[in-house]
Subunit: 463 residues, 2 copies
């Protein structure tokens, strides 16, 4: 399963002054070597288990058997989770399931349940989703590593009440808890109350969990080939553990993105030309933003660093964003994702009454979407806007697994280049504390006082 | 229908060095005055009809009657359109329709058809959508101002063939053409072949068409209260035509965004805390990017200007993007959209087996989502990241109409401040020409030669 990275249009001799010079890439080779050795060392010591997830046969067996039993018993699976507990599942189910999975009848879904991912606490989203579901036929996957994520726990509290009201006995069977192997409220519930549960491996942060039960369980239950997904990742593991910049697509792409950032191209657009891959760009948006957006460097300096990832969709966003990408500030690098074989061919038939459109007849949507991607790439390049293209042979489980794994490793390497810790997210703690304070949680009285003092002291300006 | 703009946290005395000083706002007052007079003058002369769309009673009657007849006859409406022909419809139907409209049975949809918006030419998206539809019960709205948009025309060719194959007579009844009043291939088809049609008003560019039949027809057909939408816009028209910066939310917000851009906050995040308003942020993304992302100023200087709009969703993106917004580069301004009344209350019930979660019981999702928004706003502010909040009393047709109209006028004013033409999009022409060339269209041989020469001359780098 070969994913190709074409970076021709990233280079200064092709894209002009905002592009990258060969020697700039070369001077990174040593640093990449050091980062590589550090990553391999940490992998060896067991502190980077994300590398080894594609090879964990045990988790696959466990997930597969639980997934099948859920699929047999339930018509609806509802994921309660947010951030990394939701984005991978959304991305891969969109990429690999029936395109209108939830609209299909049971046969169209191959007998598999419908899938809903509640990744917010909007009363409308939660309320209107429960309203269309039948509790007897619905199972909730409650996903939180810590077992205490406030959004997910609130959803769980709503859901358990809703199920209990309508399913007297065995209401616990309608929940599966995915959480830390040993600690936290969800693990405690699993242990003491007999809920079924799955383990989120230790030392795998939320945004790196797409190849753990967090996503594998809902994906397998809805009929996605998770073995293929993992096999693709495993095949990619071979490529992205090569030491040299020139042989390793994850290292090379991290280096290109890092150099582009240094030239002021601080916005990184990921633009698949594929409806199926749309939400992979959204998954990547979390991976890239949360991993690289950091205040402190590894040595404790204040750096306020981090590219801003933007998801886009071709051809759609040619009619929304490309005007800005072409003519606005030179602050973006665009990564196109190409698909060589869409798995179906749609011919553009003739339309006898509309001779003006004859030039399209006999072609196909496949040709059109490929032409638009190539046309946009060249137009950007001629305009001095660096861009590159990741090509997938097809949107198969293997290719998607390979792509996700490559982007995960790319993120780890980019963390090394930016000299920050890509595995933490200290910047969201303040907001969480204020939320607890506003919800009146004991222990957060100081924060409540701080909030009140701000409100009292500030001069409100509004219209 | 009052929409409130709270810009407290935009100001330097609250948000620190990246914030805006009162005197900076004051010095813009004169320029805003000039821009205001220019806009009113052009409105008077009929060259800015977007101002008057909410008052066009005639279009409402026409749309309503056609919409009702479509709703009576068909189970599925498919919009064929891209960019401005799709985004407004997607945004408003998400905001105001049943939350799971397409999943509901006919009764849940109030007898209204399902809605599909095909805004891409992906063979999978188009092919798999047609596959789940029944041609006899499906109507296509073909939407293109020029009547020649290559993506939409290709979709139309695919759709007419698909319908003709299965509906012998009267196949034309399955299409409504929305296009220019007098010119282009779609208008010609309407005139000569008897297709039903609707008029897209002259001088209203694609990204400003949400209050024309482009969106009003599919919205009305699927049961959205378009009178309410227009009434809300009309009420807002009163506010956003006031001459003074201090009295006009569109002028004030444009000024704030413009000043923030000048301070290096070149990324503008729109972050509704509402699942229903999620795609309004996507609609705005086109409006802001395509209108303001320009190479040339009005006086012909090369300026390469334009903020980059980013859509986000609260609370979801707190677990994806807020780490970057907090700790990354100070290059963003965040506009929260608050909803005071979600229209439904979801209580967080107690969960006897999980005493650790007791602190949440007795509260509601409504409180939680509001607390998280306020918490995030304060955390950003304390961290020196300017932000403001647009508050809607509720997600009603009136409020959504008012919001859309306000953002449209804000865009026109921002165009004046940036000294560019917000109504054109010259930067996408090159890409269109290369697409035609690659599709082998007559008349584009030069562009094909240019493409081939590039390919031949360039040294391909890939891995």
């Amino acid at each position: 399963m070969e994913i190709k990275l074409d970076y021709t249009n990233m280079m200064a001799d092709v894209a002009g002054e905002h592009g990258i010079r060969e020697e700039e890439l070369e001077t990174l080779a040593d640093r990449i070597g050091t980062i590589h050795r550090d990553l391999m060392d940490r992998r060896e010591k067991g502190s980077l288990p994300v590398y080894d997830l594609p090879f964990d046969r045990e988790q696959v067996e466990e997930v597969r058997s639980l997934a099948d039993s859920l699929a047999e018993r339930f018509d609806n699976l509802v994921v309660l989770g947010i951030g990394g507990s939701a984005l991978g599942t959304i991305a891969v189910s969109r990429a690999l399931g029936p395109f209108h999975h939830n609209l299909c009848d049971a046969q169209g879904r191959n007998g598999r349940p419908r899938l809903f991912v509640l990744d917010n606490v909007d009363p409308v989203g939660v309320g209107e989703t429960l309203e269309i579901l039948e509790p007897q036929r619905t199972c909730f996957l409650v996903i939180s590593k810590s077992g205490s994520t406030v959004e997910t726990m609130s959803q769980f509290m709503v859901a358990q009440h809703w199920v209990r009201e309508q399913v007297a006995d065995a209401w616990r069977d309608h929940f599966v808890l995915l959480t830390d192997p040993t600690s936290g409220p969800l693990r405690k519930l699993a242990r003491e109350e007999g809920f079924r549960s799955c383990t989120i491996p230790e030392k795998v942060g939320g945004r790196f969990t797409v190849l753990t039960p967090v996503s594998l369980l809902p994906l397998a239950a809805t009929g996605i080939d998770i073995e293929g997904l993992l096999a693709g990742a495993a095949a990619m593991a071979d490529q992205v553990t090569r030491p040299g910049l020139a042989d390793n697509p994850a290292y090379l792409n991290a280096a290109l993105q890092y150099l582009a950032y240094g030239k002021g191209l601080k916005i990184s657009v990921l633009m698949p030309y594929s409806d199926r891959l749309r939400d992979v760009a959204d998954w990547f948006r979390q991976l890239w933003a949360e991993s690289l957006g950091k205040k402190f460097s590894l040595s404790g300096d204040v750096v306020h660093v981090g590219p801003t990832p933007v998801r886009a969709l071709g051809t759609t966003d040619q009619h929304s964003q490309v005007q800005l990408y072409m003519e606005g500030p030179a602050d973006k690098v665009v990564t196109f994702v190409a698909v060589e074989n869409y798995g179906r061919q749609v011919a553009i038939p003739s339309f006898p009454e509309a001779p003006e459109l004859d030039y399209l007849a006999g072609h196909s949507l496949n040709e059109l979407i490929a032409s638009e991607r190539q046309a946009t790439a060249l137009a950007l390049t001629q305009n001095g806007r660096p861009n590159c293209t990741l090509s997938l042979p097809a949107v198969t489980p293997e290719a998607v697994g390979a792509l996700l794994y490559m982007l995960e490793i790319q993120t780890l390497v980019a963390g090394g280049l930016f000299q920050i810790n890509p595995l933490d997210q200290p910047g969201v703690e303040e907001g969480k504390k204020f939320t607890h304070a506003l919800m009146g949680r004991a222990g957060f009285e100081d924060k409540k006082a701080e909030f009140d003092a701000f409100e009292k002291g500030v001069k409100r300006r509004s219209i």
